[in-house]
Point group: C2
Chain length 275, copies 2
């Protein structure tokens, strides 16, 4: 098997330590030797955009991504325009905090077909791409697990995300590989190689799939707590040429209830031993 | 849109009306003009195999399938042999109650990779196919939703099921299309056409995906209660040449708590208006 990842490749999403405000998370991540942070909008809104930008600027952390834009599809044109406006705002926020990437949970409206939702996602992306480029913030299409196809994303495997990035064919549009959403897919290795080859593999998210999973949203596992072949998938991502951060993104009622400092140490240990 | 389905195409799975013993279900289905029944093993064991066979033989219902064999993958060879023995027993039970098809939830072992589990599924199928043929009972590979990839099935889309049926290339081996598991897949129409063309489309299961879904196992919806494009998928299945029963298979804590006679009337209504 491949060499263990270096601590300098570890990035943590603020949602992983949700109980902490941004400044607390920044201090704690640095104390553990973590070098990357992906920032969720709720953490920014809580401290205020300017203060968040100052906190991050003053830190030694690399801001890896801003999370999460998207949610383009709606049956009403007015709602679709609102989504586009909201994404432009999020691009500005991303630029303000120095994030080079906005992660997109693309959205889905159960009142219409997935194929119409996919068309509306593509239209939304086409609409905001010039603005994203002008701000120097890339867009990452994150395919979501098929169990979220009803309301969260009509893009449910890496092939669909890669197809869309190919169609849009823009240096500011790529894909996000999250093991939680994609581990089950027999085509995953081939599609990781494809987005690597095309220069579309923008980021890599890790956690684990618990057996059993108690909650469809907030029961993600720490690496090693579940059944995802993390080392194998990492070897594919590395073979595809990816050299960016490995981002730990865990939504977990169980872990959020723990002492967050202890949990963060477990994140670092799990990253080094099970990912 | 296509014509509504005829009542003579409706089949109900005994699990749909789980609170009822088999004889009660048989009487109630007939009273509603339903012509097909798919029988779960728990209903057979509860009444005893011989009594179940007599009850079904004495009824006017067509026995459409016996549910559910499979669960082939295990890290231990001894467990794999046990699974094969169990499937042979289920084939005998299927033959005894006059079921022409054994539906397979193929299994997955989270202690090994999905690709090894898939190999073990293929080996299991190869092993039992001659016995299935000798008994006149076909085998239906049912791809399961990716949220069940950890322990229930390593076959998580119709393409993987079709590939396996193609590889096994046996007139007694085909696939089961269940809308709950497959509705999200952008390749669904193409793969339905493929198994129809190859003569592998053995059965068609319907229900709905509720928004939101409260439980990963037992919160399926009645047709029309959710977001699955049932009429569109039915049009694909019909265009693929399928002329068999449309089988209503609903696991629902909510509906199981209701008066089952009222619920069954709702099933018939939903079948005629929303499927």
């Amino acid at each position: 098997m491949n060499q263990p990842p270096g601590l300098n490749q570890l990035c943590v999403h603020t949602i992983t330590t949700k109980p902490w405000p941004l400044d607390r998370a920044v201090d704690a991540y640095q104390a553990e030797g973590i070098q990357g942070i992906s920032v969720w909008q709720d953490a920014v809104l809580q401290s205020g955009l300017k203060q968040a930008a100052r906190t991050l600027e003053a830190s030694q952390l690399s801001v890896v991504s801003y999370v999460r834009g998207g949610f383009f599809p709606h049956t009403s044109a007015g709602q679709r325009q609102k989504a586009i406006d909201h994404n432009k705002l999020m691009l500005e926020e991303a630029a303000t905090i120095g994030a080079p990437l906005l992660v997109l949970v693309c959205g889905s409206d159960p009142a219409q077909s997935l194929s119409i939702s996919r068309d509306q996602i593509r239209e939304g992306l086409e609409n905001i791409l010039p603005y994203a480029e002008s701000l120097g913030v890339k867009l990452g299409i994150e395919p979501l697990h098929p169990m979220y196809a009803d309301t969260r994303s009509a893009i449910n495997n890496l092939k669909t995300a890669n197809d869309m990035a190919d169609q849009l064919d823009h240096p500011y549009c790529g894909v996000v590989v999250d093991v939680y959403h994609l581990w089950w897919d027999p085509d995953l290795e081939a599609e990781i190689m494809r987005c690597g080859r095309d220069g579309h593999l923008f980021s890599y998210h890790i956690c684990d799939w618990k057996v059993p999973t108690a909650d469809m949203l907030n029961d993600r596992g720490l690496m090693g707590e579940g059944c995802i072949p993390l080392k194998k998938i990492r070897s594919w991502v590395e073979r595809a040429g990816f050299i960016g951060f490995h981002e730990v993104e865990i939504f977990s009622n169980t872990h959020w209830q723990r002492d967050q400092k202890e949990f963060l140490r477990d994140v670092v240990h799990a990253f080094q031993h099970h990912s």
